[in-house]
Amino acid sequence: MPVLLSARRLTRTYPNGQGVFDVDLRLEPGELVALMGPNGSGKSTLLRVLGTAAAPSGGTVSWFGTTDLRDPAVRRRLGVVLDQAAHFEEMTAYQNGWFFARQFGLEPRIAAERIEDGLRWAGLWEARHQPVREYSLGMKRKLSLVEAFLHRPQILLLDEPTLGLDYRAELALIERLQVLSLTGTGIVIATNDVHLAERLCHRVLLLHQGRVVTEGRVARLLTAVAGSKELELQIHSPIDLEGIRSLPEVEAVSASGHTVSVMLARGANPAQVLAILNGTSDLVSTMRVRQPNLGDLFLKLTGVPLQEEGAR
């Protein structure tokens, strides 16, 4: 199978010591790969390097067999959406689309067809002659996606692609990415949306403090936490987290705002945790047990939650 993108011991450091370190990654045609990690884990930095927006400080990255990140032939085959939805604000969405379509080498007739198709898909066709400065953040994010799809790139690199999108737009995006994957486009998504990654992606890299803590097929990764359970408690007041953490059945505990997540080992009984809360159970407003997901795996491996409370 030809490799679209390959990174070996990729490192990108910043003066403050943060960055990504020694990352290995391969992307084959049709593959959907998620880069997951909490804020500051390095997933956006990694995506920027893979998208040629930043040069690696160490290691190598090759796109279609070349390591020259400034090679126009490489960039012509990449579609990149970074965290900032930057556009030429005084120009309309159509003008922005036209500029990028033509810069990426599309003939005027093809450009017109694809811009119309993309803007209609994104629900922006009616607002196509509106200056982008009048757009909401969600509309700008959609326009960024449209622009990235215009030249039918062979590799798509998307940073938090569902950020700012409503539910319908998110479903439309997932469907589109699945179709693109089936037609051979390699896709890398940086996200901390567990459900998006589990639903859409074939492979996942979990990043923590700039390093890959584990990677592999989603189903295989989930076997590491299969049989275990997550107990999620909504609390009014602080509870004895250390007491819970010290239980042998407990693999990890995280607290974020009023939510406490307790990762239970395979075969453990949630009642043992509840026993710790004996006498203070009135502090707990709701409690629920659910099957573990990639977020729980991350918590188990690193001891820190994958998502902020608001993102869960």
Binding site: A86, M91, Q95, R102, Q103
Partner: protein, 239 residues
């Protein structure tokens, strides 16, 4: 309503955005007019007008380009340019050339005023035009470089003026260089030739010929293009 213009290239995009920012367009065109009109038509000596107009041209070129690039870096547009499938030198060259060309359009009004004021010295107008193009190109490159050193458009002003003011002094804009070394240095700076061409048109007492000033303008256009190529990666790839 006419259909909106569709930009296929960077220079077309710059022109369209310039045209669509109506208020900025009016300010840009009025600004040199308001400064040049009293300078050229008052009883002030032509030497002061030449000095002020040289400074105005240099400042317009450097500050405009520096502030725009700095703002674009802050809002993420610099990265969008970086990801275009073109070499960095080609991208920056087109941006700097478009910026300098728009600045030159601004300065055309000054040429018209001079032409009406001094109809017998029309030979100097092509020299002023080419020397101004050289100054604007060089100053746009200076602004681009300054934008890569700073974090905000406000800081660009400081980063631009620090080298610009001594360079203007060394060019003999304020006082003619007496020492041979200073005179030699002045010949290496683009402001010297614009100042001289303006002196030629406004006072009739230049140091050089119109041909020399015009040729120098062309040389500085070429030098600016080469410098743009050298600076492109630094300017476009800094976050």
């Amino acid at each position: 309503m006419s259909p909106p213009a569709l930009p296929a290239s960077i220079w077309q995009r710059e022109l369209i955005e310039f045209e669509q920012r109506r208020r900025a367009l009016v300010v840009k065109l009025l600004f040199p007019l308001l400064i040049a009109l009293p300078l050229i038509y008052s009883r002030a000596a032509g030497v002061y007008a030449a000095m002020a107009l040289t400074m105005l041209t240099a400042t317009v070129g450097a500050l405009g380009s520096g502030a725009v690039l700095s703002r674009e870096r802050a809002i993420g547009l610099n990265v969008r340019y970086r990801l275009l499938p073109r070499r960095p030198a080609a991208v920056l060259l087109e941006r700097v050339a478009a910026g300098a060309a728009i600045d030159l359009v601004q300065m055309l009004v000054v040429l018209v005023l001079i032409a009406f004021r001094q109809p017998t010295r029309l030979a100097w107008l092509p020299a002023i035009l080419l020397a101004a193009a050289g100054v604007l190109a060089a100053c746009n490159v200076l602004g681009a470089w300054a934008s890569s050193l700073t974090r905000s458009p406000g800081e660009v002003m400081l980063a631009v003026l620090l080298p610009l003011l001594p360079a203007l002094y060394l060019s003999g804009v304020f006082t003619a260089p007496a020492a041979p070394l200073l005179a030699a240095i002045s010949r290496l700076l683009p402001f010297t030739y614009l100042h001289d061409a303006l002196l030629g048109a406004l006072t009739g007492r230049p140091q050089l010929t119109p041909w020399a000033d015009a040729a120098a303008g062309i040389v500085f256009l070429a030098v600016s293009a080469a410098l743009t190529g050298l600076l492109a990666r630094r300017v476009l790839e800094r976050d």
